[in-house]
Symmetry: C2
Subunit: 454 residues, 2 copies
């Protein structure tokens, strides 16, 4: 009769230890199919455990079909071939510590108001308790939607119905929701150049995605072909920083109306204009229910909380309720109520003002570092009073690849404008670098001084 | 010259107040297109504000294209017709307080360990700080994936590679991710009867979704036609509570292999078996990379934190990294690290054990209430030692609709089994009710005594 070491380990009852040993032997073939197991009493005496323990283990094996019982005869291993069970748990590779570089390509956030956030979070749990555990409106909790509507009213001059706001765990998720709402048979146009991730998302969603050609004022309505959905960031185009003036905005609204189409307005960093207020949102100019407004707290607060939102016009809102309201919400209720208080108690506005100063100061440091570096007389900064990134024009005979490589040798990471093009790259992009300073390490700015003179 | 009441209001600089007044007048037509604005000095004196204030306001209107400047002549309203701006912010309707009923249909969670959770959350913020703000692996943080792998190893006897785990904000989101991973051209089979939401999700994702016929052992492999993806809950089928034995599981794996298909194993409530351990997961029996394991903390902890996960076989994991790893994660890093500690410090196991006792006790209360009620001799309970819901067979001449309505009159909400069928409902479903006791109010159980004798 087989003997097992039945170690008592916390959380694992004895019967289960025995069950595991037996199952292991059955799966490994040590106990071949058809073989008879010892009687419960015999095994119990043999292993010095109670009969109940053996009964429980046999019971489990029975219920899982590993063994069968024959009346008055005993227990037999089922005639099945069982796949082998692997043994050890593989480990995750440990992440390398990041190298010391001046990274002008990275996104990230800093200065998160941890203490306020954590205070509000505790308050939310104390005040709401069990209410937080109840199923929530899939659009997100009313408190947060109201707070967002009020914020947009005060900060963005927008009149928003909280009932038209949909909260989602990041914009990627919301884009996918829009694909299901607007339909996959439509043709989607995205800015060229632009934020290439948008293109990937639409690609993964299986829709046809075309380039939306741009001039100095933004997207050209007449260049949209038979697209019927246009995805743009008119307040501050990424990566060029271009701002689309009101006249062009009205032309685009006109286009949407005539094409029976929709415009997805990505307002991702409107909070970070340094001097004047951002232009009025397309959504605010739209009177035909053609604009979907989208924004996120990733840049303005932190990507760590994964809260984005979109605002649908009434017509689409009806379709959403009809077609997609069965989805569960995607943002934790704790976070939603905490953010609602963060907004309505004025902490968000304070935070934005602080960050605007912070980023302005950082931008100035980067600019002066550029002006002081050996290449200063070959550099031109192109920006439109808006934050977190700008274009740097470099006069150089080098190709963009050589340029990026040369800077990288000095520990300076930059991305060429050409990498944001999907199709043909115009000559004007030659020597253009996109400088994103939102997540750089200021102590590394000295590296600009190490750029080799020609 | 027009006069404006420039109220000083907090957060709104004077120039902005003036800018808003002017824009309002331009949009309303009070200042008609082409009309000349007063000179900066004149307006400043007129309104008793500084010239800088007027300059800033004009500057904003210029940058937005509402006015144009003519050298040495002055400022003119742009020849554009502007849509009117709405005024008031609509209010959200207030939610009704829920009526006092015995709701045997609702899902929900109770007994969330708020104090532990909030303690861990504070610790996470203190210990990790800025690290929480950095962009995170889109699969979810390593700490949480390791903790989940260890939990599944100990509790479910599964050998899981943390690198194959993908964390997502709810299973709905993960299903959509799977559609993009496995492809929309495949045919998806879902259990009949089954959890109808799955069908809706696949429908919204635009894939062809067919019924997977079942017998007393679970889904019948030979009934799957040309489907190549099968979505099942073999450990505890919803709503029948059926448990699929090992032999059938192996047959289903065989099918997946031959059909070059995949099985999505939804293990949604395996934590709540009251007596024996749950059967080994299909994922653990699979040696051909055909099974995708899916689970969530919605039932076991609370839907409020919106954390689910899936485990991909190596083959699919490669495709995921190649095709879909550009997506950002969907769960807040705060929540992820907190849950990681909740798991690895043993709180989750404690919680599960507590909840298993809690739900067992509640089940017993419901059963005794049924046994004591006027209908007791017409009721049969069908369950398989697994939690949160069971089937109740009612001997009655009434149709299911009449039955549900009759109970509803007594303030008892139940769902008939037939409502979980997509196609033809078998006669055997007649008089079958699905009783979900996870979210009922025990103080309402007395209502069962009010059922009218015939």
């Amino acid at each position: 009769m087989r003997t097992y070491e039945l170690k008592k380990s916390p959380g694992v009852p004895l019967y289960e230890a025995l069950y595991r040993c037996l199952r292991q032997d059955i799966q490994s073939g040590e106990l071949p199919p058809g073989s008879k197991l010892p009687s419960k009493r015999a095994l119990a005496e043999h292993l010095k455990v109670s009969k109940i323990t053996v009964e429980a283990a046999y019971g489990q094996l029975l219920s899982e079909g590993f063994i069968t019982a024959r009346e008055k005869v005993g227990y037999f291993v089922e005639a099945q071939t069982y796949p082998q069970v692997q043994s050890k748990l593989p480990e995750l590779p440990q992440a390398e510590p990041p190298a010391q570089v001046l990274d002008l390509t990275a996104n990230g956030s800093v200065r998160f108001p941890f203490s306020v956030w954590s205070k509000l979070q505790r308050e939310v749990m104390l005040d709401l308790g069990e209410k937080l555990l109840q199923p929530m409106e899939n659009q997100g909790c009313g408190a947060l939607r109201r707070a967002i509507a009020e914020h947009l009213g005060a900060f963005r001059g927008m009149t928003v119905n909280p009932q038209n706001i949909i909260i989602g765990a990041g914009t990627d998720f919301l884009y996918n929701l829009l694909l299901q709402l607007l339909g996959q048979e439509r043709i989607y146009a995205v800015e060229e150049p632009g934020y290439q991730k948008i293109r990937k998302i639409y690609g993964a969603g299986g829709v046809c995605c075309v380039d939306a050609p741009m001039d100095g004022q933004g997207v050209l309505p007449q260049g949209l072909g038979n697209a019927s959905v246009l995805h743009i960031s008119p307040s501050h185009h990424f990566p060029t920083g271009l701002v689309t003036p009101v006249r062009r905005r009205l032309e685009l609204l006109q286009w949407a109306q005539e094409a029976d189409g929709f415009i997805i307005e990505d307002d991702y960093d409107s909070e970070f204009r340094f001097h004047s207020r951002p232009l009025p949102a397309l959504y605010a100019l739209d009177r035909c229910g053609r604009v979907i407004y989208m924004n996120s707290f990733s840049k303005s607060l932190t990507p760590a909380i994964r809260i984005s939102y979109m605002i649908l016009p009434d017509g689409l809102m009806e379709i959403y309720r009809e077609k997609l309201s069965f989805y569960s919400g995607t943002v934790a209720s704790f976070e939603q109520y905490t953010l609602a208080r963060f907004l309505s108690q004025g902490y968000f506005e304070k935070h934005i003002n602080r960050m605007r100063k912070f980023y302005k100061a950082r931008r100035d440091k980067v600019v002066s570092a550029l002006e002081a570096c050996p290449w200063h007389n070959r550099l031109t900064i192109l920006e439109q009073d808006a934050g977190l990134h700008f274009l740097l024009q470099v006069q150089t005979p080098l190709s963009d690849e050589e340029l990026v490589e040369l800077w990288q040798k000095q520990g300076i990471l930059v991305q060429p404008l050409r990498s944001f093009y999907h199709g043909q790259v115009p000559d004007s992009a030659q020597g253009m670098l996109v400088l994103n300073y939102s997540a750089l390490d200021e102590s590394q700015l000295w590296r600009l001084n190490t750029l080799p003179k020609e």
